[in-house]
Structures are given as C-alpha cells and as structure tokens.
C-alpha cells in the first residue's frame, strides 16, 4: 500500500497542472530581456496590445539574454519583443553579411519574423568610467585606454561573449588590458562605484550614467554599430492579430533618446514601476489613457508561489516516479547499474544555468523546459539513494528473505523497498531542497516563480524585491523539508523508525 501511495500522490500533482489552452488572436505574449529598458519597452507594447482589445496579454519579463528571446520568438513561445538593429546584425545573424536594412528584413522573413521601423532612438554600446578617474588619467576616448594596461575592466557577460563585444573591441583598438571580468550589468555599476573595476560597458541610454557620474568615452574608431531600437514579431502574429499589431506599431519613431533615458531613470533611480512609466509615455506621446495593471504585494506573492510550487511539484514528482525504478534497475542489474549512476551523475555536473539554456532548442521557454531541467537535476540523489538503500540491506536479512520463496516483485514490495525506504526518502528530501533552490533560476527562461522578483530586484538594485523572492524560497525549502520529515511516519515502517 505504501508503495502505491509513493506513486499515486506525485501522479495527482502531475495531472493537476496539465491544462494550458490558448486561442490565437486573443492572446499576446510579449518578451523582454533582463534590463530595464527592454522591460519598459515591452511594457509599452503590452499596454498597446491591451488597448487594442486583446484580453490576455502576457509580459514575460527578465528573460536571460538575446539567444533565449530569439529562440523563443522563432519557436512561437513569444509573439513580439523589443530588440536592437545592431544586436540582430552582430549577434543573432552574425554569420550573415548584411549590407542594408532591406536585406536584413528579407533574411528575418525567412525565419517567419518581421521587424518594425525604428522606435526612434539609438542605444548603442559605449565604454565608460568614473568621471574623476578619467579626468585624473586624461582619458577621453577609447583609444586613450591603450596607455593604461593596469585598468580593471568589468563587462556584462553577454558583451564578453558577443562578436561585436569585448573581443572585437580589443582587436579594433589593440587594447592591452588583461584584467577583464564578466559580470552582471547592474553589478558592474556597483563595481565601478566601489572601485573594484575601473572601466565598464554601457548602453547609451542607461539611466545610471548620470547617476553614477560616469564619463562616456568617445568611440573614435566608430567601432560600435548602430543599435536602433525596433520590435521583432512573428508573421503569424501579424496575420492573427492585425489590430493589435497596428496599435502597437503606432509607437514607431515616437521615442527619443532623451525620453528613453528619462524612463530608465524613473524606473531605476526613482523606483517607479515600469508599467506606470510606460503608461505615462503613452499618455504624453499618443494621448492614450491606459490603466496599467497594478499588482499588489500579496497578489504577486501568490502568483510567484503558485508558479514556483508548480515547477517543484511536477518536476520532483516526475523525478520520483522515474528515479526509484531506475535505482531498482541499477541495483538488480549490475551491468546497467554503473551506466545509470554514471549518466545521472554527469547530468548533475552540468551547471544549472547551462542546463536551462540547453533545454530551449527542444522545449522553448517557459514552464516546460524549466520543469525538464529541474527533473533532470532531481534524478541523482533519488537514484543513488534508492540504489544504496537496497545495496545496504544486511546480507543475512536479504538471504533469509530470498529463501522464503517470494516472487521477485513481492520480495521488492514486502522486504527490499521498506528496508530501503529511509534512504530513498532522504534522497527525495535532498532532491526537493535542491529543486526549490534551483527553480529560482527558472525565471531566466520565463518560468516565473520566486526567481522573478529576485531577477527584477537585481536589475533595479532593489533589496526589497530580492527578499520578496529569496525569503519565500527559503521558507518553502524548510516547509518541504518539514513535509518529508513528517512523511517518514507514513513511509518508513515503525520497526525502522525507532532505531537510531
């Protein structure tokens, strides 16, 4: 009976979350990268879509980077997102030699993607440093950096890796600096402020340039390409929701660099919500009166909790259902045993972020790839503990059981699994706690959960928001641990519990 419960309870969890139906035309998914400008632009798009009469507009914000957004758009996981022409040329289509905007449009069309006209401002990369330091060293342009190899550089991870990022810049200017660190863009501002790094990459519309009193170095070799903000959207979105698209495209050419910097400043420095800021711009420029949806703290907490629990319960339940039989098979058939343990062990060594991104080509973005990644992560502790729990049954007990003449299934059910139950349960407990923590990374690929406020909090340097994700995640980990401690009373036979 216990064994059946073991299997049944997780199954129920799996089945309660299977429905997710969407009708095209009345559902728009807008994506944004994890920096404020992208989130604000996507918020403008969302509000315009809502204004056009679309009821269900979803804004998946703070997704982890260009590749994630682009794959999601091509796969149809999102309908539209703000991008920059330079990024499209130099990063997304880096292997193509694109000479004109028309050519760019025709190549995008091959992917089923269309590009709007520029929104009105150029947000190119720039290199900056603290005004006082630049003044002291007499640095005004990027080529001045050649004479200061001792300077410490800290660049956004994406900038470090991109073709048009650090490597290209280093080649173009012949920069000698060796001390170059990759870090989060928002952390780089803190690094420059504290003096841990001297030089960082900037976006020309960053609000912090003024706030942190940075000098933007002149790109004297014209290395950085143009980064006009545009919207990328799917052709089938244009076909299914022409009204929504027309409404959205009214923003083309309406946002100046100054207005973008102001909006960024309002959100990042003044602490206003991106929805509020987007709404004010629409009021000013298009005389559209939108009512930004304002989510309360409790509403947000509830939504994040549901999303997080869903990720954890589904992935963990599936892991339990698969891992216990895998562990049993590994124990019964020694020949495949080491292979099974080896494979699940290797999966565990893949960094969680990398595993999440690996999932995108197969499962797109959102809940499904996050669940698959979490599932894979949860395998090892359960498989290994099932295996070792069975392996550790004392020989005299095992032989006494074997000699009874039970079928091998009955032997497993009546003797082996109950004796291994403590070990199996502790494996599940380990998996569950790891799972709750790792699930916070799911927000990077649009799965939501407690990671969402953490990501937004890091982006806005808002400790309150970070805690809004971190504290419930920690509490959930404790609750899960407590739940499994209690479940020992159900799953571990009394004769084993009283010992130790």
């Amino acid at each position: 009976m216990r064994t059946f419960l073991f299997i049944l309870i997780p199954l129920i969890f799996v089945c309660t979350g299977c429905s997710d139906n969407q009708s095209p035309g009345n559902h728009v998914i807008v994506g944004s990268k994890k920096f404020t400008e992208s989130v604000v632009l996507a918020e403008i798009v969302s509000q315009l879509a809502r204004e056009s009469g679309v009821e269900d507009v979803e804004h998946r914000q703070d997704l982890g980077g260009t590749r994630v957004l682009w794959s999601a758009l091509v796969r149809g996981d999102i309908d539209i997102y703000p991008e920059y022409t330079g990024t499209i040329r130099e990063e997304i289509l880096a292997d193509r030699n694109i000479s004109s905007n028309d050519e760019l449009k025709s190549i995008l069309s091959g992917y089923g993607i269309e590009m709007s006209s520029p929104l009105g401002f150029d947000n190119t990369y720039a290199i900056g440093m603290k005004e006082e330091l630049a003044e002291k060293l007499g640095i005004n342009k990027i080529s001045d950096l050649i004479d200061h190899p001792e300077l410490k550089f800290g660049f956004n991870n994406e900038f470090m890796d991109r073709n048009d990022g650090w490597r290209g810049l280093q080649r173009a200017y012949g920069l000698p600096q060796k001390n170059v660190t990759g870090l989060d863009h928002d952390l780089a501002y803190l690094g420059v402020e504290s003096g841990d790094i001297d030089v960082m990459d900037l976006y020309t519309t960053d609000a912090e340039i003024k706030y942190h009193n940075l000098r933007v170095l002149e790109d004297d070799l014209n290395y950085f390409p143009e980064y006009m903000a545009v919207l990328l959207y799917r052709k089938d979105f244009a076909v299914q929701s022409p009204d929504a698209l027309n409404e959205i495209l009214t923003i083309e050419g309406k946002i100046s660099a100054k207005e973008m910097i102001d909006m960024n400043t309002d959100v990042k420095i003044e602490g206003k919500s991106s929805a509020e800021v987007a709404s004010r711009l629409l009021q000013d420029k298009l005389s559209i009166d939108t009512n930004p949806v304002k989510e309360t703290f409790l509403g947000r907490l509830y939504r994040n909790t549901i999303q997080h629990l869903f990720l954890v319960l589904v992935s963990l339940s599936a892991a339990i259902l698969i891992s216990i039989p895998l562990g049993i098979a590994a124990f019964r058939y020694k020949s495949i045993g080491s292979a099974v343990l080896g494979v699940v062990g290797i999966i565990q060594t893949i960094p969680s972020l990398a595993l999440l991104v690996f999932m995108i080509p197969f499962f797109g973005i959102g809940t499904v790839p996050a669940i698959v990644a979490l599932f894979l992560y949860s395998l090892l502790p359960i498989v290994r503990n099932t295996y070792s729990g069975l392996q550790d049954i004392p020989n005299d007990v095992r032989e006494s059981a074997e000699v009874l003449g039970l079928s091998s299934l009955a032997l497993l059910r009546l003797i082996e699994l109950p004796l291994a139950s403590r070990s199996i349960l502790s494996g599940i407990k380990t998996s569950a706690v790891i799972n709750v923590g790792t699930a916070t990374l799911g927000a990077l690929i649009g799965a939501g959960g407690y990671g969402q406020p953490i990501l937004t909090g890091i982006r806005l340097d808002n400790m309150g928001l970070i805690l809004e994700g971190a504290v419930p995640a920690a509490i959930l980990a404790l609750v899960v641990q407590g739940f499994f401690d209690l479940s020992e009373r159900v799953f571990i036979p009394a004769g084993l519990r009283s010992k130790n």
């Binding site: 005299d396 007990v397 032989e399 009874l404 003449g405 003797i415 004769g495």
Partner: protein
C-alpha cells in the same frame, strides 16, 4: 530426502566443496560439523538455492533443483540462521506470517497456526507485536524458528542457530529444539562446530574437512571409530570444564 551428487563449489580459487556425494535421510536430524570454512554452510546454501553448484546436482524430495521448481521447493523448507535474519521492519507476527499472507491464507488460519507455533516454541503470545530490536537474542531465534515452521515444511535447515547465544539461553534452546524435532519428525539439517551440540542433536553426523566428507555416522562412530586423526583432534580440541580440572588438554 536430499541428495548431493558429485557437487563441487568454488569461490574464486578457494574450493568450498570438492566432488561431494551426500544422502540426507528423511525424518532424521543430521548435523554437519567441521572447522570454519570446511564447506558446511555452503551445503545449506546449495540446498536453499542461494548459490548454484559448479559441478553436480542437488535433488530435493526426488526432484532436481532448478529455477523452475525453486520457489515451490523453498516453500517446503524452513531456514534459520545464526542471528535470526528477522526482517527489522516487521513485528514478530509479521515475520512469522509473511509467507502465509503471501500465499493467501485466511486471517483465522494464520492466527490459529501462529498460536500453535507459540506453544511449540514457547514464545509468549503477547510478544508477537514486538519488533525484532525489542526482543532478546534467544527470543529472536524462537521467532525465526516459527517463521521457518509456519508453512509446516518437510525440511528444516539451521545454520549455527545457537551460535550467538550465551550458554544458559543456549542450553535452554537446545532442550526445546530437541523436543520440537522429536515431536515434528521433520528432516532437519543443522550446521554447527560444537561437538557437544552435534552429539546432542544428531541422529547422523557428517564430518567435513576442506570441502570433503571425511566421515558419516553417529557420535559414537566419531568417538570410537574416527576416520582419521583429524577427527579425534577436532573432538578433543573442544575442552570441557571436566578436562580442565583434570589437567588435561
């Protein structure tokens, strides 16, 4: 009842049994005796099918032991080992009744049988609800014996069943076991290295050395007509307090 023909068993380079032929007669108590590692436990493990012989075959009740009849043959054997081998997650009652429940006996039938066995083995009925870690070593062995007898098998195999008990408990259990054997008249096979115990239980004694049967007979045969000097040496090596006070050794 149990017949070994030309049985050899090797563990790596070690020979556990070397071309052994052996006939265990039904209804008698046969004791396997010899030094540690002489192959006596291997014989029990071959009969129970826990291991397979490298040469030769084992016959139980006229049938050659193989995968096809292993389960049914095991239902006709009871197996008791030194530390009892009780399942720690089950109560004494659970341990005793596991096979009867598995085979679908009614609750009533199981209860009646367990009470019979409690009488037979002098195990207190009120202790049936205890877990193995809650009963003493001697009681554990009584539970283990009840488990072995539950299906009323023809064959009872005991591998050093009293080896881990202190002398008083041991002697008490010896007395009880002997009474049970003579009451039930089953085919009993006991492994021990204790000569006194062998003589006390054994209708027949099989003396093993280095994987071979050296002598088969009664205790008197071993004492009076030892097959070789080693038999005598083995018997004399087990000092009794009487020998000690006489200054012998």
């Amino acid at each position: 009842m149990i017949k070994f023909s030309n049985i050899s068993k090797y563990y790596g380079k070690t020979t556990a049994l070397d071309t052994v032929d052996l006939d265990i007669e039904g209804g008698l108590t046969t004791v396997l005796i010899g030094q540690s590692g002489c192959g006596k436990s291997t014989i029990l493990r071959l009969i129970t099918g826990l291991i397979k012989p490298d040469t030769g075959s084992v016959e139980v009740s006229g049938e050659k032991l193989g995968p096809e009849n292993l389960k049914q043959t095991r239902w006709n054997m009871g197996y008791v080992i030194q530390e009892g081998g009780l399942f720690p997650h089950m109560t004494a009652e659970g341990n005793v009744s596991i096979m009867a429940s598995y085979l679908g006996w009614s609750k009533e039938k199981i209860r009646t049988r367990i009470h019979e066995l409690c009488d037979l083995t002098k195990f207190p009925v009120e202790a049936l609800s205890r877990y193995p870690f809650q009963v003493s070593g001697g009681q554990s062995q009584r539970v283990s014996l009840m488990r072995a007898l539950m299906l009323d098998p023809d064959i009872l195999l005991l591998d050093e069943p009293l080896g881990a008990l202190d002398p008083l408990i041991r002697s008490e259990l010896q007395t009880d076991l002997k009474a049970i054997f003579s009451e039930l008249k089953k085919t009993v096979l006991i492994v021990t290295h204790d000569v006194g115990e062998a003589g006390y239980f054994g209708d027949k004694i099989v003396f093993l050395r280095d994987g071979k049967v050296i002598q088969k007979g009664t205790i008197n045969d071993l004492l009076e007509r030892p097959a070789d000097k080693f038999v005598t040496k083995f018997i004399n090596a087990q000092r009794s307090p009487v020998n000690l006070t006489e200054g012998g050794g």
